[in-house]
Symmetry: C2
Subunit: 369 residues, 2 copies
């Protein structure tokens, strides 16, 4: 079981910077959370530092320490994860700690909003990607064999279950309704998405008729079996290859997009290119009892420790964390402060063509909270 | 075994239009082949029409008739495949004929050049994607199980072999050298790729350490074990998710890109978005004894039969077919005629913002041969 808040509004957040620029952007996100104006209903934060990552593995032989998992489960209501370095060669015994965390905490949906800020000169889009987060090729069941000629042959299992597909699908339809509700508060002229809410199902069932066939039918079933709940949400589908094409040609055609794990991984990086930088795109790994915010970018060893990292993805991930913990007012404050800084366009890190430091961007966001 | 040409320069080409706009673009490609000026060294074509496709399946219960395979093997030196429709629901007994063709004829590399024509207003790129064409999730070994709660659980096998990875890798390095040689004939100011030839290996070995680990090591080994042959070719790598991001941000950073089957499928559609239309991107399915040219686009049922389809992908695929059959002079004529029409920008189909018909574009290309 997970820890529940003992005192009203008291929230304990695990901070797992992990590798590279994770160590710069997680403190930035923390600073923003601590700078939120305090009201009756807003949370009081406690932060605890937790270890994980490839560097931790190199020093201590373990990428996701038992203690980190135990304290997340026992003391925290949510967490922020920085970024993890990938060894360029296979390293015996090493396995990605973020993939393990998603699995151990049953964080079944990875929620990735990708939206352009009006006037940033990029393609206009306002998309929410829901990535199934526990299976597909990420179950890491792999084996090595040898063929008749002594050559190596490797296999991996790709798992798609009705159970996980349904949970991801439900998240997608629920988020489509939620977004529609929130949009009602935005002046029509500022809304990028004008139509009825829509869920687009990504698959490759023309090749994977059994696995992606099950995915497709199960997600379709979420709407078809719940007409009372979801009749207000449109549904369509795209093959994963066409999706990458269409997303770049017509990004405005998508509202909520729901995808199996690996396709979701690829599509969200593609969508990030459309808004100008991976340094802008946040995510939340969401389960029924726990949320881990996580910027979509990697550990960027080439710029680590130089105050060049864009903290916005991590700061927005802190917003998503609050949103999925039920503090949507505080989350909205964070999103608006970030959008304000981006719209003004004066203070920006090198990935956006600026010269500001991680700290300067963070301070600018805090000032607008 | 495959048929070998009995009379010098006599070439028999199987034409498999299959579904939808395949029936318009394959005749267009044929017209271009027939319009090539005849020289001593250029091929004399015989064409035979062969059946395949989803519509054929609906009528006759088989998507790739035995006769088609037998005549390809027995009578043809190469073929052109149009496009195949995908049923939106799982249809018992149906399986994609193009995937089957690649497997039965051992067409182990799918060669997909994606290049912008200078001045077309799109991102500038000149990339060659080599897609492994016989394994990965395309082996279609899938099974359905039931979990303890009676819910469905599906599995697919992903296969990566040393044998297939090496063949794809060798094709990539050989093509990198070949492109470098051909570039020497292009004035420096018109070359998009200026540097040493380069092969970029796509993988996701941070998650799939065994399968993609084997892919990565084997393709790296092609260069490392053949320094005499390939020391002139640079090598780097990209995780598949980062690749989709970087390709959109910096498409000029890539020369030859080599990818496992499914990643290659996704990346090539993404690259097509960068040159303005899927209707421009050709491919060749290449084996040691046979080549099948195939436009990367689908059957586009929404515009089929209306003379709206862009024939250029199919025409360029006919060029690739000739190139890989050893007629590089005739292939170059086709490429230059197409580039000329595109550069002039007057005669174009609706996907490129024009109003010309399939026939008008085809005639314009023929006029420039
Ligand atoms: C680091 C890697 C294992 C991870 C993934 O593939 O899920 C990353 O790309 C992400 O998107 O969170
Ligand atoms: C039609 C489909 C099976 C095919 C593939 O996935 O290989 C297509 O997308 C392609 O790129 O040739």
């Amino acid at each position: 079981g997970f820890a529940t808040a003992t005192q009203s509004n008291k929230v304990t957040i695990g901070l797992i910077p992990a590798d590279g620029i994770g160590r710069e952007v997680i403190p930035a996100a923390r600073q923003v959370l601590e700078s939120l104006p305090k009201s009756e209903s807003s949370p009081r934060f406690d932060f605890i530092h937790l270890d994980a990552g490839f560097e931790h593995f190199q020093k201590h032989g373990v990428a996701l320490p038992e203690e980190t998992l135990a304290r997340l489960r026992g003391e925290c209501q949510g967490a922020l994860f920085g970024a993890v370095s990938s060894p360029s060669h296979k390293v015996a015994g090493y396995s990605s700690p973020i993939v393990a965390l998603r699995k151990h905490l049953d964080l079944y949906a990875n929620v990735r909003p990708v939206a352009s800020v009006a006037g940033d000169g990029q393609k206009q889009l306002d998309m929410l990607i829901i990535r199934e987060n526990t299976e597909c090729l990420y179950i890491k069941q792999e084996r090595m064999e040898t063929d008749a000629n002594g050559l190596k042959v490797a296999y991996a299992d790709r798992k798609i279950s009705e159970y996980a597909s349904r949970r991801a699908g439900q998240m997608a339809f629920n988020m489509a309704l939620m977004r529609d509700k929130l949009r009602a508060n935005v002046p029509a002229s500022e809304r990028l998405w004008q139509g009825k809410p829509k869920v687009t199902i990504i698959h490759k069932s023309n090749v994977l008729s059994i696995t992606d066939g099950l995915w497709r039918e199960t997600v379709r079933g979420v709407k078809e079996n719940n007409p009372d709940l979801y009749s207000g949400v449109d549904m369509d589908e795209q093959l994963v290859d066409s999706m990458v094409y269409r997303m770049f040609r017509e990004p405005e055609a998508f509202d909520v997009v729901v995808a199996p794990n690996l396709y979701g991984d690829i599509i969200s990086d593609g969508a990030a290119a459309l808004v100008g930088s991976l340094g802008l795109v946040p995510s939340a790994n969401v389960g029924d009892n726990f949320v881990v915010g996580e910027p979509v970018h990697g550990s960027a060893p080439d710029i680590a420790g130089q105050q060049k990292a864009n903290p916005i993805a991590a700061i927005r991930s802190a917003g998503l964390l609050l949103e999925h913990m039920g503090y949507s007012g505080d989350a909205a404050r964070i999103y608006q402060a970030v959008d304000g800084v981006l719209r003004e366009g004066l203070i920006k890190t090198p990935d956006l063509g600026g010269k500001s430091t991680t700290q300067e961007v963070t301070d600018a966001v805090c000032k607008r909270l």
